[in-house]
């Protein structure tokens, strides 16, 4: 293998995946794709379906699970006689793919001289997928059918011919048919970009050379990942955390992990974690595995996203847990579970490599959905306001405020734009004082905001981290827990499940007020620089009481 060719081919494949990302981000209708990059694109090995390259603009949550989706579709396609030129497959089945029903995947083969050369995939978040709750986040769902329509792996385009009947089935079953049709179109066009790039690469280096590079890239990435694992001291590291409840029954849900490091291999074992829940707080096995890679990539950011990176790690996820959901378990609360899995890897590995791992982040996406019929346009609208919050502190720094979750890069919508589009008004949008965990380095503060309705709206919220706040590491303290307060008919009240409420009807003048957690602290707060504590006090990042109790200031 010529090392120069390998380096150049790798760069070119990453470039093609980047171009696919950017194409969809610019062409998509749904703001969730165009504004928050809620999409992903990749190029996969024709025989194994392993990731060769993935775009660097899409969201981390899709890091590994596209590979699993491609591998599953590859199997199904083979059973049906294999991929054919001009085919595009579509699916959103979260048990075969991952995440939730809103994430729709298109998968397309790429042929060179009649032989399957590579597989391309595009994932995009659709703003609505039918189901019980507009937008799809149904806090009380008890089976997947309440969350939307399931698309099994089927051919959307066969031999270049679009299956228009299928498209009509989609658009008839979603609340935003024009948007969905537009996004589907934009996603299909992405493959033109991918094909153009791959064709140029094959023309330049020849089919055999590029094929050899695909294999070599996977092998090299494995080597790279192993070198990082070798730096973690051998041993078994255990960590437990809890999710407050499943949205149905008010009982804590235990998650437990044991990470065993042996030389350059790692074993992640979730044995002992709670069973599949009755509500939407579940993820499929693929999503659980993908979440672990997201955590590791945050600890070792230089590792490439490639099938080889995934090889040195073995997983034990027993069947019928909330981390191995199967049909018909609801999975709409997947973001909460993904976040908790990431935190648990941080919690476990903080025991082995405390200087490289951050404390727990704010830990709840708490998707707040506002929907209804806009009085000005008479059309249906869905507004989604996921929580920002504080990051955990680390050896390197205090935690960031108003951060985006580790599994995402999504921004918060402009408040002014939100008021243009939806019949609501922000009452305040503020740093939540005194909410970061104490420590040598302090956790970042959470964010609080109030939304008042200017006409009748339906509001749902799907959060967590009220009873079990984000933890600190290396002697750092926990952050403040999450808070949700409804204000209706002049009265303030908290939902029975504290952070989860489905389809509450709010009238003009009613409001919902939320406060997200901060991040956990790092290290002993009494070791924190006194001047830094004083400055935190002046700026209102901490209260006088916290300064005295946790930091011992003034002494």
């Amino acid at each position: 293998m010529n090392p120069v060719t390998l380096a150049v081919v790798r760069g070119s494949l990453e470039q093609i995946a980047d171009e696919m990302d950017l194409h969809l981000i610019h062409a998509a209708i749904s703001p969730i794709i165009s504004e928050t990059n809620d999409c992903a694109h990749g190029i996969f090995h024709p025989a194994t379906g392993e990731t060769i390259a993935q775009g660097r603009y899409g969201l981390p949550v899709f890091l590994a699970y596209m590979q699993f989706a491609v591998q599953n579709v590859l199997k199904i396609a083979e059973a049906e006689g294999g991929f054919r030129p001009g085919d595009v497959w579509v699916m959103n089945d979260p048990y075969l793919g991952g995440s939730h029903l809103q994430d729709v995947q298109l998968i397309a083969p790429y042929f060179v001289e009649g032989t399957l050369f590579a597989i391309m995939a595009s994932t995009g978040h659709w703003m609505d997928i039918g189901g019980n709750v507009p937008g799809g986040w149904a806090p009380k769902a008890q089976e997947i059918h309440q969350e939307g329509i399931i698309i099994p792996p089927v051919k959307l385009i066969e031999g270049g011919r679009l299956n228009t009947a299928l498209v009509k089935m989609f658009t008839a079953n979603v609340r935003l048919p024009d948007q969905i049709a537009g996004d589907l179109n934009a996603m299909t066009n992405v493959f033109t970009v991918g094909e153009r790039g791959l064709a140029a690469l094959v023309a330049k280096f020849g089919r055999e050379v590029v094929t050899d590079c695909l294999d070599a890239m996977i092998e090299r990435s494995e080597r790279q990942m192993r070198s990082y694992i070798e730096e973690i001291p051998d041993g078994t590291y255990r960590f437990d955390d809890f999710i407050d409840n499943d949205g149905i029954t008010d009982e804590p849900i235990k998650l437990t992990v044991a990470i065993t490091v042996e030389g350059s291999s790692m074993h992640v074992d979730f044995t002992g974690s709670a069973g599949t829940t009755a509500g939407p707080i579940n993820i499929s096995r693929n999503t659980a595995v993908s979440s672990c890679y997201v955590a590791l990539k945050h600890i070792f950011p230089d590792v490439p996203v490639n099938g080889g990176t995934f090889r040195p790690i073995r997983f034990t996820i027993p069947e019928r847990t909330l981390l191995s959901a199967e049909y018909p378990a609801a999975v709409g609360g997947y973001l909460e579970v993904v976040g908790r899995v990431i935190d648990m890897l941080f919690g476990a590995l903080a025991q082995a490599i405390p200087d490289r791992v951050p404390a727990a982040f704010f830990g709840t996406i708490g998707v707040l959905t506002v929907s209804g019929v806009h009085p000005r346009t008479g059309s249906y609208f869905v507004g989604v306001f996921p929580y920002p919050g504080g990051y955990g502190a680390s050896r390197a720094s205090d935690g960031l405020v108003n951060a985006t979750p580790p599994q995402s890069m999504a921004n918060f919508m402009s408040l002014e734009l939100s008021e243009h589009r939806f019949p609501l008004r922000f009452e305040y949008f503020a740093l939540r004082e005194d909410s970061g965990g104490a420590g040598l380095h302090r956790g970042g503060c959470g964010t609080s905001y109030g939304l008042a309705m200017t006409s009748e709206c339906i509001v749902s919220v799907l959060g967590d981290r009220v009873d079990h706040p984000p933890f600190g590491i290396a002697g750092g303290g926990p952050a403040k827990p999450s808070e949700v307060v409804f204000h209706t008919d002049g009265r303030n009240w908290t939902p029975a499940l504290r952070s989860k409420q489905e389809k509450e009807v709010l009238r003009a003048g009613d409001a919902i007020r939320v406060a997200s957690p901060g991040g956990g602290g790092f290290g002993d707060p009494r070791q924190r620089d006194r001047a830094a504590v004083q400055r935190d006090l002046e700026l209102g990042y901490i209260s006088r009481e916290t300064a005295e109790r946790d930091y011992g200031v003034p002494q």
């Binding site: 090392p3 209708i29 981390p60 537009g182 066009n189 080597r223 108003n402 408040l415 700026l539």
Partner: protein, 677 residues
């Protein structure tokens, strides 16, 4: 203005050097020089450059100037102590931003806002998105804030209220009240700086303006005084980030507009030189020691970005020439990653310790070292300092050590380093979406900066661009760009409504207001202009989309005509349209350009009279070692032409002509390098 004063001087003050470009009045021709910058007081270095050039202030028609003071003040947090007054409930917007993190992977790092939390105040008032007053401004409360602020030693106060772009009544009233309380404050009203929605981005932009205004005002004052003392009688023009110039006397109010002054000047010069050479589509490639800056020019107009992040969570929502930067330069370090694959950059050896060949303590091989190993850079050149040759053996040892585990020879390793860094740069160029219906063969790549012409040949091959153009003075292109720029004012307003609900008269009225405002602003300056040009455009999107498309429009167009223009532009950009989805008019923009009367005159160059003669030969590696002629740039006159391999040396850069390429010199003295047919 009298006819005797036609000399023009452009000065670009960078972090390390202050560059000067002088275009003469027919007696002195052109002149370029570099002097060290004086970061403590940049006007000192500027005056030093003028003295070194021995220019006569009496005979100078105009002085144009690019500067990095604004950028550096933001990055190093050295701006004025600034307070912020916001709508009740929203003072933290500036610190919170829009929910993000500094990098996609890795969760560390924090953010220091330009206004700390204890200098941010809230006042009771609220508008809705139409501009209707929901809660009146609590003037008593504002006066109270003003009194408190008097004791807090601030230089600037920024006022930013929600939805003020739709109705600035509260912001303007608040300004009047605060100005009464303390006339010494610089008071900035956010919607005077940006009249568009997106509260965080608008507030951030206004805060940058407030943070810089006292500093820039002081600098402008010092400079004006020193230039007057020197004997210069005219107004100085300052390069703005949008590629146009603004008078020094009005600079303070436009402080936020000059943050990318230097790079904008470089792109402007590259665009003009290429246009004069007959190329309307240009990629500008500025490769220096640590970074590679690339921009795209279409039909002579540099692409403009509406939003630029000056630092993490410090967006600036003002039109700026869209310069993309990646960490690839002469100092970029080559290494083998843990998977055994060669990587180049973004880590850089910087100026210290610098490349191994500079013998200043650098031990890791860089891009410059690869060029040295391959014989592309003159070993006798004084790149590392006035008294030192390059340490070629040390560079060879470092590159050889890198290649050994890969089983590569020293030359093959050096070529691999170039291949990898060239691919990264080519990739960045491709991502600038020049491929959207545009044929790369229509572009010329203007290479400048110390390393640009070393790599430009490889880049044109990789991207498929027709030719590389190396201007006569690639090391001072930014200074030259100042001289070439026109006056420019950008205006914009948010509409955010469906076209079907708007009428042509309203749109025409807004465009007319913007035009008048721009022309009035130009009229307030003293720079002689021969006329103004006004260009209107509309930002439009399908309802629901966030990313709008900018479409050129004309005043007087009805909504139907706008919708047609949008659909046509959308089809061109994305290959299809989205059918019957309603079209939103997001905003209206107007650019008013004042064409300067005193423009640069091309220097008359004598054509070449015979074959250019090389000054020597050197072994240079292109796959194998080639006997390669070495030319001096000053010997290459219009009409000269030869085939590669060849090396062209000048004091500030080296141009590589690969074996299958051909070099020609055009009438203006530009080098054009093309792949031979």
């Amino acid at each position: 203005m009298s006819g005797t004063m036609s000399g023009l001087v452009g000065i670009d003050v960078g972090g390390t050097f202050t560059d000067l470009f002088f275009s003469g009045d027919g007696e002195r021709g052109q002149l370029v020089l570099k002097v060290p910058s004086t970061p403590q007081d940049p006007s000192k270095g500027l005056l030093a450059a003028l003295h070194a050039a021995e220019l006569d202030p009496q005979r100078l028609g105009a002085l144009l100037h690019g500067t990095t003071i604004a950028t550096n003040a933001v990055i190093e947090r050295r701006g004025a102590r600034t307070a912020l007054v916001t709508t009740q409930g929203f003072r933290d917007l500036l610190e919170l931003g829009r929910r993000d993190r500094p990098t996609m992977y890795g969760l560390t790092g924090t953010h220091e806002p330009l206004v700390p939390r204890d200098l941010r105040y809230e006042v009771t008032e609220r508008l809705d998105f139409t501009g209707a007053v929901l809660t009146p401004l609590d003037e008593a409360m504002l006066r109270q804030i003003g009194e408190t602020l008097r004791g807090r030693d601030v230089a600037s106060v920024v006022i930013s209220f929600l939805h003020a772009y739709a109705n600035p009544v509260h912001e303007q009233r608040a300004r009047a009240i605060l100005a009464e309380i303390e006339p010494a404050w610089e008071i900035i009203v956010a919607t005077d700086v940006v009249r568009e929605y997106y509260e965080f981005e608008r507030t951030s932009t206004a805060v940058v303006q407030g943070y810089l205004q006292p500093l820039v005002a002081r600098y402008a004052g010092n400079l004006a005084r020193e230039l007057a003392a020197w004997g210069f009688r005219h107004d100085v023009l300052i390069m703005q980030s949008n590629g146009g110039v603004a008078p020094l006397s009005r600079l303070a109010g436009r402080a936020a507009h000059i943050v990318r002054s230097g790079p904008a000047a470089g792109v402007t010069a590259a665009a003009r030189l290429a246009a004069a050479a007959g190329f309307s589509h240009v990629i500008t490639a500025d490769m220096g020691g640590t970074s590679f800056d690339v921009a795209v020019v279409i039909d002579g107009e540099p692409k403009v970005a509406e939003l630029t992040n000056l630092d993490f969570r410090i967006p600036l929502r003002l039109p700026m020439i869209d310069v993309h930067t990646i960490g690839a330069g002469g100092g970029s370090i080559a290494q083998i990653d843990r998977g055994g694959i060669l990587q180049v950059g973004p880590r850089s050896a910087g100026a210290m310790p610098g490349p191994v060949a500079y013998a200043r303590g650098g031990t890791e091989p860089t891009v410059t070292d690869a060029n040295v190993v391959l014989g592309r850079i003159d070993p006798d050149s004084r790149m590392s300092g006035p008294d030192s040759r390059l340490d070629v053996p040390a560079a060879r040892r470092a590159v050889a050590a890198l290649g050994e585990p890969l089983g590569l020879s020293v030359e093959a390793t050096a070529e691999a380093i170039l291949a990898v860094v060239n691919q990264r740069m080519a990739g960045r160029i491709r991502l600038l979406s020049i491929e959207r219906g545009l044929d790369p063969r229509d572009f010329v790549l203007v290479a400048f900066g110390g390393a640009g012409p070393l790599h430009g040949g490889a880049l044109i091959r990789e991207v498929g661009v027709r030719a590389m153009l190396v201007p006569r003075y690639p090391g001072v292109l930014c200074a030259m760009g100042c001289v070439m720029a026109n006056l420019r004012i950008d205006l914009s307003r948010t509409i955010e409504d469906r076209l079907e609900r708007l009428d042509g008269a309203t749109i025409a009225r807004i465009l007319a207001e913007q035009r008048e405002e721009g022309e009035a602003e130009l009229a307030r300056g003293t720079t002689p202009i021969e006329g103004t040009d006004t260009v209107h455009s509309a930002d439009m999107a399908y309802a629901g989309q966030i990313h709008a498309l900018r479409v050129p429009i004309e005043a007087g167009w009805e909504p139907d005509r706008l919708a047609e223009a949008f659909t046509a532009a959308y089809r061109e950009e994305f290959g299809n349209t989205l059918g019957d989805i309603p079209v939103m008019l997001v905003g209206l923009r107007t650019t008013v350009t004042g064409r300067r009367r005193d423009v640069i005159r091309p220097e008359e160059l004598a054509p070449a009279t015979g074959e250019p003669q090389p000054i020597g030969q050197r072994q240079v590696f292109f796959g194998t070692w080639h006997d390669t002629p070495i030319f001096r740039r000053e010997d290459l006159l219009p009409g000269a032409a030869f085939d590669g391999p060849a090396i062209v040396q000048q004091s500030d850069t080296t141009t590589v002509v690969e074996p299958d390429m051909r070099l020609t010199v055009d009438a203006a003295g530009n080098l054009l390098v093309e792949v031979r047919a």
